[in-house]
């Protein structure tokens, strides 16, 4: 993607029908460090790589609890991510107060998508430069995606522990050889009867130790299929509570951004 005369603001179309500002904002997501999500019938796991710039500084928070049944992992401009998380928390809590029941995730997503769309159609705005977890987004997420694509069909019936293990292995794939430690990744879980929460470092390290003891050789995987489990369009989805009554998987092609 190179600089051109049609990319100054978001309300300028290129002659080939592209909005460059929107595409550049998606680039920001790709440059962010990886975030991964997996879903079974009963649980959803969100995991991400959390590397600090230096040993002296703390990590940038990438996973946010929106409500007991909703959590979000972000990649891209963290500031934009925090603003959107605040919006989502607000929507979730207002719904809870008025209707005394949890906001259906699908509706929150649609509201968020509509909010994001506005920024692509006002000359004085810019698109949000953040992706809220689809299935694997961020830099070097392709390696994670490849791992997940081979296995996603089995996730539906996975146990909670296996799902977390798969998430950690997928995270490790994005590290390109670097050793996976609980200090550089964050894992969160939500499930039927289990409110959204982030696992503490100790638990994560124990889980890492458990599967690193197993040999690195993964058994040859079945034919890679063309339909990832949690795939959705656009960069604006979250890992959702499976208790929302998991809607049947749509026949969607893998995203190639």
């Amino acid at each position: 993607m190179f600089r051109n005369q049609y990319d100054t603001d978001v309300t300028t179309w290129s002659p080939t029908g592209r909005l460059f500002q929107v595409e550049y904002s998606m680039e920001a997501v790709k440059q962010g460090s990886a975030a991964i999500g997996l879903r079974s019938k009963t649980h959803v796991v969100l995991a991400c790589v959390n590397k600090a710039n230096s040993e002296l500084s703390s990590h940038q928070k990438k996973i946010f609890k929106v409500d007991d049944h909703i959590g979000v992992a972000i990649a891209g401009l963290t500031a934009d991510g925090r603003v959107l998380s605040r919006y989502m928390r607000s929507e979730a809590i207002n719904h809870s107060f008025t209707y005394e029941s949890p906001l259906p995730v699908g509706r929150l997503v649609v509201q968020l998508a509509d909010k994001a769309q506005v920024c692509t159609q006002r000359s004085w705005k810019r698109p949000y430069g953040v992706g809220l977890l689809a299935f694997a987004i961020g830099s070097r997420s392709q390696a994670a995606k490849t791992y997940l694509e081979r296995r996603f069909e089995n996730f539906t019936n996975s146990s909670r522990e296996d799902l977390i293990k798969d998430a950690l292995i997928a995270t490790r794939e994005t590290l390109q050889g670097e050793k996976l430690k609980s200090s550089i990744c964050t894992v969160s879980v939500v499930g039927v009867g289990e409110p959204f929460h982030i696992l503490d470092q100790e638990t994560v390290q124990q889980l890492i130790d458990t599967f690193e003891l197993v040999t690195e050789e993964e058994p040859p995987a079945p034919e890679p299929a063309s339909e990832p489990a949690a795939a959705d369009q656009g960069g604006a989805e979250q890992g959702a509570g499976a208790e929302q009554g998991a809607a049947p998987d749509e026949g969607v092609a893998p995203m190639d951004i």
Binding site: Y99, S101, P104, G106, R107, V110
Partner: protein, 248 residues
């Protein structure tokens, strides 16, 4: 949208004009049963004889109201809008009875806070994904859930019967019999009740509101035969008795 009514802050009252009397509702095996008569009283007189006080709301709920009928109609407008916006999402989610009950509580309480109450007691019942729900909201926003609820006089005359005779998993026939027993007592003892009622049923599959019908009553008690002025138990007899006792 809301009518701002002239409201006397001194007395803190607001006058209802056309009112409905008790609504009684119970949970039964397949869902909820609700009963209400069709009278719209105009003070002590009977103004309207075909007022439908039980209405379905969305796919999963049933609303019964007592109190000011015009306020009930306004609430139905609010609910129309609520359900419309719920449907317009065009997704697999829909507002269940718990959500509607909660919404109504917020509306009633907010109006009470603005000193412009909706003069109703509402009963909201329904079934969603096998879960039965039955709740009540008063005009000041007090709300609660129970296995059997009633409004107005129903609380004093029907609830005691229900406390004794309600049990889990009532059949439809038994449920109707129980409600009719309550409605009959109300008919005898509530002066604003009329003998024309509807019973509504809501289950997972559907809502059905019966055609209006009347209950059989019995007035052939010997004390009611061959009446003369001043008979024992008549108002004249009671007033005289009171006058005598106060003079003593």
């Amino acid at each position: 949208m809301e009518r701002k009514l002239r409201f006397k802050l001194v007395t803190g009252r607001w006058n209802p004009y056309v009112t409905g009397t008790s609504v009684v509702a119970i949970k039964y095996k397949d869902g909820i049963l609700m009963a209400a008569d069709m009278g719209g009283s105009y003070g002590y007189t009977l103004g309207y004889k075909s007022v439908e006080r039980l209405k379905p709301v969305g796919k999963h709920s049933l609303l019964g109201a007592s109190g000011e009928i015009s306020d009930f109609q306004e609430i139905l407008l609010y609910l129309d809008e609520l359900i419309l916006y719920d449907n317009v999402w065009d997704d697999l989610n829909s507002l269940g009875p718990k959500e509607v009950h909660s919404y109504l509580t917020r509306v009633m309480y907010n109006r009470r806070n603005k000193f412009n109450p909706l003069w109703n007691s509402l009963i909201l019942g329904g079934v969603k994904i096998g879960q039965k729900y039955l709740g009540m909201v008063s005009m000041i926003g007090v709300n609660f859930e129970d296995n059997h609820v009633a409004t107005g006089f129903g609380n004093h005359l029907a609830r005691p019967i229900l406390r004794d005779e309600w049990h889990d998993n009532l059949s439809f026939e038994d449920g109707v019999k129980l409600l009719e027993k309550c409605m009959r007592v109300l008919l005898y003892r509530d002066t604003t009740a009329v003998n024309k009622l509807q019973i509504a049923k809501i289950t997972e599959e559907s809502v059905t509101i019966s055609q209006p019908y009347s209950l059989k009553t019995f007035w052939g008690y010997s004390a009611f035969q061959n009446l003369t002025v001043g008979d024992e138990g008549s108002w004249l007899d009671m007033v005289t008795g009171w006058a005598v006792t106060t003079m003593e």
